[in-house]
Subunit: 137 residues, 2 copies
DNA sequence: ATATTAATGCAACTTGTTTGCATTATATAA
DNA sequence: TTATATAATGCAAACAAGTTGCATTAATAT
């Protein structure tokens, strides 16, 4: 949908392979964070059979290039999503395991408090909320 | 230090074994979330050699009994900490990998916003902040 | 078209986590 | 104090996620 990530990588001199473009396109068109094995399964289902090793290597590459970001949940597997979308966080339904984005207006004050109270240089943060989604109630 | 978790389990009829009490005591006396393999290593170092399988089984038991909680970070391993402490969240130093608790006054508004905006029944949340700690700056 | 080398696939490996089953040890009762 | 019931444990094996070495393939530049 928004292939700006792809042209950015090409301008930087990286090759645009089928694996790379299909992973980027998948994540661009997925509205929630997904795992490495999800990427692998979904691509296979739509006829793009790349090796799981390649998926892992591509994830690491895309993390380095800041095309994607990690999303930690209460799970043993990390999830990933593309960067460049409006800043948001995540709702996880503990009943159906769905993940939904949420944009928070009131996080600004929270981040200021963290900055003031901790004397850390904060570069990133991850806010996750767990509960039951409307469909599962 | 505060063996209230231990007596609570005994009152519920669970056996208090060496593995169970040493894991609870370790977590009670650790001021940051730790992983299953950390628990195993630390206990071994202080002379409590329990099998890693038992550590995993005990973690699951203690999660069920709400004695401990999961803490998801940008890591492939989950961390765990005891419940019953003042409600707090975590600062992770990406340089030295240290984890520090932080109590946030201004999270109340955030949680109200999540509740109002999402129509989820939120039961838990996890806020993690990543950056450089004062020692590493 | 050819050359260069980034990216890939495959196999093997490491690490984290789970399971089955025989044995041990805690709690309770005789 | 000893016997009993069974929760908890250890061990081996399996499973799952993620990594690495190396030979091969394919994307780009010439
Ligand atoms: Mn935020
Ligand atoms: Mn909170
Ligand atoms: Zn749901
Ligand atoms: Zn640090």
């Amino acid at each position: 949908m928004i292939p700006q990530h792809i042209s950015k990588l090409q301008e930087k001199g990286f090759r645009m392979t089928q694996a790379r473009s299909s992973i980027i396109n998948l994540l661009e068109n997925t509205d929630h964070p997904i795992t490495a094995s999800s990427i692998h399964k979904i691509l296979k289902r739509i006829g793009v059979s790349i090796n799981i090793t390649t998926v892992y290597r591509e994830i690491e590459f895309l993390l380095n290039e800041r095309i994607i970001e990690k999303v930690p949940l209460m799970d043993n597997e990390l999830h990933y999503e593309v960067t460049g979308r409006p800043h948001h966080h995540h709702l996880f339904c503990t009943s159906c395991s769905s993940i939904k984005d949420i944009v928070l207006q009131s996080e600004k004050g929270l981040l200021e408090e963290v900055h003031d109270a901790s004397s850390y240089d904060i570069t990133r943060h991850s806010l996750a909320f767990f509960g039951t989604c409307p469909d599962c109630k």
